[in-house]
Each structure stands twice: as C-alpha cells, then as structure tokens.
Amino acid sequence: MILSLVFFTFSLVFYFITALLYLGHWIFKKKWIGQTATAMSFVALMSTSMILISRAGESGHAPFSNLWESMMLFIWATNIGYLIMEYKHKFKVLGVAVMTFEFLAMLSAFALPYKFKSAEPLNPALQSKWHWMSDLLARWDLQSYAIGWLDFHVFATFVGYAGFAIAFGLSIIYIFKERQETGVSTSRLMAAFPDARIIDELSYRAIAWGFPFLTVGIISGAVWADYAWGTYWSWDPKETWSLITWFVYAAYLHARVTRGWRGRKAAWISIAGFLAVIFLYWGVSFILPGLHAYA
C-alpha cells in the first residue's frame, strides 16, 4: 500500500474525531472539549500535510494532478483557513460547521474509485515548469521540484474554494442564527453561536480571501492557456463555470454594500456561490465535456 493512502486513512479518522469534538463542544459548551477539538484539528492538518508531501514523493510532481489529490489540497487549505480564523477571532463553536464539512469531504474522497486516486506520471502536455525556477533549482540539482503555471493555477484556485467552503458553512449557520435572533425559532443550540452580525462579518472575511484567490486562479489559468494554446480564454465549460462562480461572488460582495440585500439575502448568495463551486469542481468534470481533466 502506498504511504499517502496510509496517511489518508489516519486523516479520515482524525477528521471524524475532530468533527465529533466540535459537535460536543457546541452541545455541551465545555471549554476543555473545545481546546481538544482545536488540538485535534491541528493534528488532522499535520496528517493532511503528510498526505500531500508523501504523494509528491510518490508521483514526482506537485500533488494536485488528479481528483483525489486536489481533494486533499482542498481539505488541507480549508483546515488552515479555519484554524487561522479561529486563532484570530476565537469563536470555537463555528468549527462544528467547517469540520463536519471537512469530514464529509474526506468521506467523499474515500468513496472515489481507485482510478482517481493512483499516483500517475504527468501527461506531457501538462508538463511545463517555470524556466526561472528550474534554472534556479538546477544549481542544487533540484530542478525536478520546480513548479509551473499549472501548479500555481490549481493551488490558487483551491485556496479560493477553501475560503468559499468556510463561508458556506458560516452562511448556513447565519440563516438559522438569524431565525433565532428574530424569534422565528427558539433553539437553545442556536443561541450558542455568536451574533448573526458577527457570523455575517466572518463569512464576508472568508469570501474576501476566497474571491481574490479564485481570481488569481482564473487569471493564472488564462496565462497558462495563452502560453500553451495561444488563447487566454476559450469558453470551455470549466472556464465558463469558474466565471459563473466568480459572478455569483461578485454579486455577493455588492449585495453587502446594497441596502436591503445585506444579511440573509447575501447569505443565500454565498450558499448559491458554493453550489456553483461544487458544480465547477465535480459537476463539470463528470457531466460536461471540455479541456480540463479534473481541476
């Protein structure tokens, strides 16, 4: 069995425990559970990093070249993003949404057929490294570790997705929280979450990270396409869906500066945006024809 899949098995268990701990912290409101949950999500992060590192060693290129690898990158980035948010804003209860999501993402990666998981050498059309980086690394004989526009493109895109995933979790909490605040519901569990106003703000912050990264991802993809195919934009389904997603989040940003669209409506746009991300990521690959292999 290959090492990265061993780490994967560990990580799956870690994310399960992490999600349970955050759930426990939310329900029982015990401080120690919260602290253990944070520690555990850090352990899960380390373990996910090991998946990526060992996979890079096994395949001999940056570990984002198939669906499974990109899932690992996505889960990794979402975990880091969440931990940074928790460190800065100290609202541990919100972890329940993000970590449950992480666990579900791990499960779906687990369920992928083997052909999406195996470590493959790269198709020649995809091998193009930054010359300056190869040249630099060649001084120490490390040129095989150089990356190119394509690696950068995938990485930036997935960091963007991670921001949107966090915002998605928060927007869902927002919708329920607002119902509780306006007296529509009287859930005691909802009362444990911070004010809707704060959740809205945090969700905006997550999108404020996700949106530029998605943009950089789209533009670096365009730079690559321009270089490799001679056109920076060819309206293939993946490109178009990335633009659709981008429009939706642009709408979200403007909803927040428009009176009457703040809050709940904006939260719904953020949820719609994430559905577009999921389609962009999985739907396009499996349903629509196009140039992009998976990511």
């Binding site: 404020a208 990270w209 195919w229 309206w235 659709i244 429009f247």
Partner: protein, 475 residues
C-alpha cells in the same frame, strides 16, 4: 446632445429637455447597485446555457441532438455561439456602462472626502454615537493621557491630528485611506480587461500553415518569414511519443534573426506573433528525392538505378535524355473534369512521380511513373528503347505551425495586475478613523474615544481594546 440643443433657437428647448430627461433617466438607470446585482446574476445564469449546449458545432450535431424546431431556435437566438451573441455582449456592455456611471458618480465625492478629511474640531458627544466607542479614566494629567494616546495610536500605524490643549484635547487619527480606492482599481481593471478583449477581437488573428523542412513560410501581416530547419519526434523508451519538436528560424530582410526549438506548449514569440507546434506529417505532394531505375524494353531487369533530387535534373544512364523531378503525389488521382492531378489522401496509397523530359536544353515532354504500377504509361521517347521505374523515395516532413497574434493580451494582463492591486487594497487595507476626546476631571483624565472602519469591524473592536489597555497601563 447639449451642444445641438444650444444651437437650435426655436423648438430646441423642448427637444433638449426631452433628451435631457431621457439622458438623465438612462444615467439614473445605470447608476444603480441593484442593476449591478441584476446583471451579475443574469450573467451567471445565462452563462450556464452555453455550458450545456455545446458551442460552435456543425448544424448536423444540433439537429441530431435537439431536432429541427429547437435547432432553429438555437440558431436564431445565437445559442450555438452564445458568448459572442449580441445579447450576451450587450449584457457585458451593460456591466461596463454600469461601472463607468457608478465611478463617475461616486468617485469624485469619495476622493474629496478622503482628501479633506481632517476636522477642525468635532463635538465630543458624537463619539458616543459611534458603534465602537469606549470611555476610560486614566490616573494622570490630561496632557500625559494625550501623550499616551498618541503613542498608542502611532504604534498601531495611525496618522494623527491633534487640537486643543491643557484640560481639553481632541485627537483625530486615521489609517489605511488608500484601501478605499481598492474597489475603484478593481472596477477600472475590469474595463481594461474588457478593452483588451475588444482589441484582440478586432486586430488579432489565428492561422495555420504547414511548412516543409528547409522551406520558408510567409507570416501573415508580418515583414518577416519563418524557416523550418528540422522536425523530429522524441520517444520514451517504451515507444510512446514524448514530444514533437521543430527547430525554426526567423528570417527578416534576408537575415537570420532568431533560432528556437519549439514543441507542444512551448511556442516561439517574435514581434507579438507566436508560433506553436500543432501537427506534423509526411508531405503528400513533395519528396526530398526519388530512386529511379532504367529498364530496357523487353527485359524485366532493372538496371542503372540513380537518385534524383526534388526539382533537379539528372541524366538517364544509357540515353541522351535528362529528366527533372517536378511532381509527386502520395495517393494519385486524376480529376477528369478539371484535368488536374490530386492526392486522394495524405497516405502513400498510390505514390507517383512526375518528370519533365529534356533533350539537351529543350523540354520534349513529360512522364508519370507509378511505384505500384511500373510501365503503366511509356515514360521515355521510343528512341530510348527504355522505360523509367519508380523504385523508392525519401519523403519530406512538414510541421504544422499555428500562428497567432493577439495584441489585446498585454492589456488583459495589465488589467489583471491592476485588479490584483485593487483586491489587496479593497480586502486587506481597512480605512480606520478614530476620534479621541481627553478631558481633565479632578486628578485624573477621562479619555473618550471611538472609531469607524469601512469593513472588518471585528478588527477595529480588538484594536480599540488594545488601545484602551495600553493607555491605562502605559505599555
């Protein structure tokens, strides 16, 4: 419009006010963030259609997939080439107009208020009205409290304007004003990117040409030519193709300017025109050289094999005749109606060579010789008492090069850079303003302060807490 209105003396007033009203209505229509939301969401929704209906396919495919009726509708509405249809472009134009009008309306006042932002004096009661405000009492004189406050604010990176003295002082502090320009940079960058796309669609082009090894190729719109020096294929040990390569040279004014090896995804770029390796093959209408044999009449034996190069003359051994190799076709076909020879396919299914026959300097005829059908037609004049046999050939490779030019690309990249800057300013540089009122109350000083931030209120709250701590304990 208004110029014309001024010139007309009679009846112009009415027309002018009408145009004016229409103009201001249009202006008003485009000066709306709700319109922005509408256009963005509409763009997102309609874009989906083009990912479901495959774009730019031949009609037959639509007919097969959607039937006659729907195909008609698809072509009428331009759904088969949706992203270039007039209504999609109109939506983009609306977005652009929306941006232009919003920027005209909002930027100047914003700019002014950012420049003239320092108040001469402010009412301390306003501080309490701010969403984030605090009042702390410090056991020092007012002037020490002011000093501590200034220090704390400066440490956090604020600029400061101070007024008053003695028992009552005012401080106004600010930071991150440029952040407010972020959204404008983003909007302008969008216009730049759209402009780049427009430039590209008007003055760019794409074409394709096959060039033989050793040949010069004309480059559309350019002064220079391109020469293919070599074409070759690299293989993996397993026999799988690794790469297709061409060595090409740019020739300008008869001089070689630049030589570069190109391969798939690794183009050569010269004066804004790029050359991509896109295909290759064996020429179907040309060879490098051919092996020709001579067969005496009535004999089966082929003797005197000689090699003749493309477009060159050679003597046919044992005869007074010279032949010149002037034609080749890989899959011979004679088009009776047009009277021309063509190649049915690029495959060498029925190779044939064509010669001109010379006696001395005079051309006396032509010959067509088949590889698979020797002696099908007589090739040399009777008197030679011999026939030519086409024994073999050395083919010539061509390399298919895609050529393209898009002068808008750099504008798009410039727009992208501006957009990056805009994002950084819009999302990561917050405009914060803090108002402070310090008043002596007996032996201690009362410090009242509050702030505003254009986003990320949580960050401001933390910052004000920090400041309160540091002025109380003078850290």
């Amino acid at each position: 419009m208004s110029e014309k209105g001024k010139g007309a003396s009679t009846g112009g007033g009415k027309e002018r006010s009408f145009l004016h009203a229409a103009g201001s209505n249009i202006w008003y229509f485009f000066n709306s963030l709700k319109l922005t939301l509408g256009v963005l969401i509409t763009l997102a929704l309609v874009s989906i259609i083009g990912t479901v209906i495959e774009q730019n396919q031949p009609v037959e495919q639509y007919l097969a997939a959607y039937g006659e009726r729907w195909t008609g509708i698809i072509f009428k509405t331009g759904l088969h080439n949706m992203y270039h249809s007039w209504w999609f472009l109109a939506l983009l134009a609306m977005l652009a107009l929306n941006i232009v009008v919003c920027t005209f309306e909002r930027f100047p006042p914003k700019w002014k208020s950012l420049l003239n932002h320092i108040p001469d004096k402010f009412d301390p009661r306003l501080i309490e009205k701010l969403a984030h405000n605090k009042t702390v009492t410090v056991n020092t004189s007012a002037s020490t409290a002011v000093e501590r406050m200034s220090k704390a604010l400066k440490k956090k990176g604020y600029c400061i304007s101070q007024s008053g003295s003695g028992s009552e002082s005012f401080i106004y502090a600010w930071r991150g004003r440029v952040g407010r320009l972020g959204s404008d940079f983003v909007h302008i960058s969008l216009l730049l990117i759209l402009l780049g796309a427009i430039i590209g669609s008007y003055s760019g082009f794409k074409s394709f040409d096959a060039v033989y090894v050793g040949d010069l190729m004309k480059v559309p719109t350019a002064e220079f030519k391109l020469r293919l020096d070599k074409f070759w294929i690299d293989y993996y040990d397993t026999g799988q193709v690794r790469q297709y390569n061409s060595m090409i040279t740019i020739v300008e004014d008869g001089k070689e300017v630049l030589t570069k090896q190109i391969w798939v995804n690794e183009p050569l770029s010269y004066k804004g025109i790029r050359f991509y390796q896109s295909s290759y093959g064996m020429a179907w209408n040309r060879v490098e050289e051919a092996q020709i044999g001579v067969r005496k009449k009535g004999s089966e034996e082929v003797t005197d094999v000689f090699t003749i190069k493309w477009n060159e003359k050679a003597n046919v051994p044992g005869t007074p005749y010279d032949v010149k190799l002037v034609g080749y076709t890989a899959d011979y076909e004679y088009d009776k109606a047009k009277g021309i020879v063509t190649s049915k396919s690029a495959e060498p299914n029925n190779p044939a060579v064509m010669f001109e026959i010379y006696e001395g300097a005079d051309m006396i005829g032509g010959a067509l010789v088949f590889l698979n059908h020797p002696g099908l037609y007589p090739s040399l004049p009777e008197s030679a008492n011999a026939d030519l046999v086409f024994g073999g050939y050395k083919g010539i490779m061509y390399s298919g090069i895609s050529i393209n030019k898009d002068p808008g690309t750099n504008v798009v990249w410039a727009g992208s850079l501006v957009m990056g800057l805009g994002f950084y300013l819009a999302f990561f540089v917050y405009h914060r303003r803090v108002w402070v009122h310090v008043r002596q109350t007996g032996k201690s000083a009362e410090v009242k302060f509050g702030g505003m931030i254009n986003k990320n209120t949580l960050a401001l709250e933390r910052e004000l807490d920090d400041i309160a701590d540091s002025i109380v304990s003078d850290r």
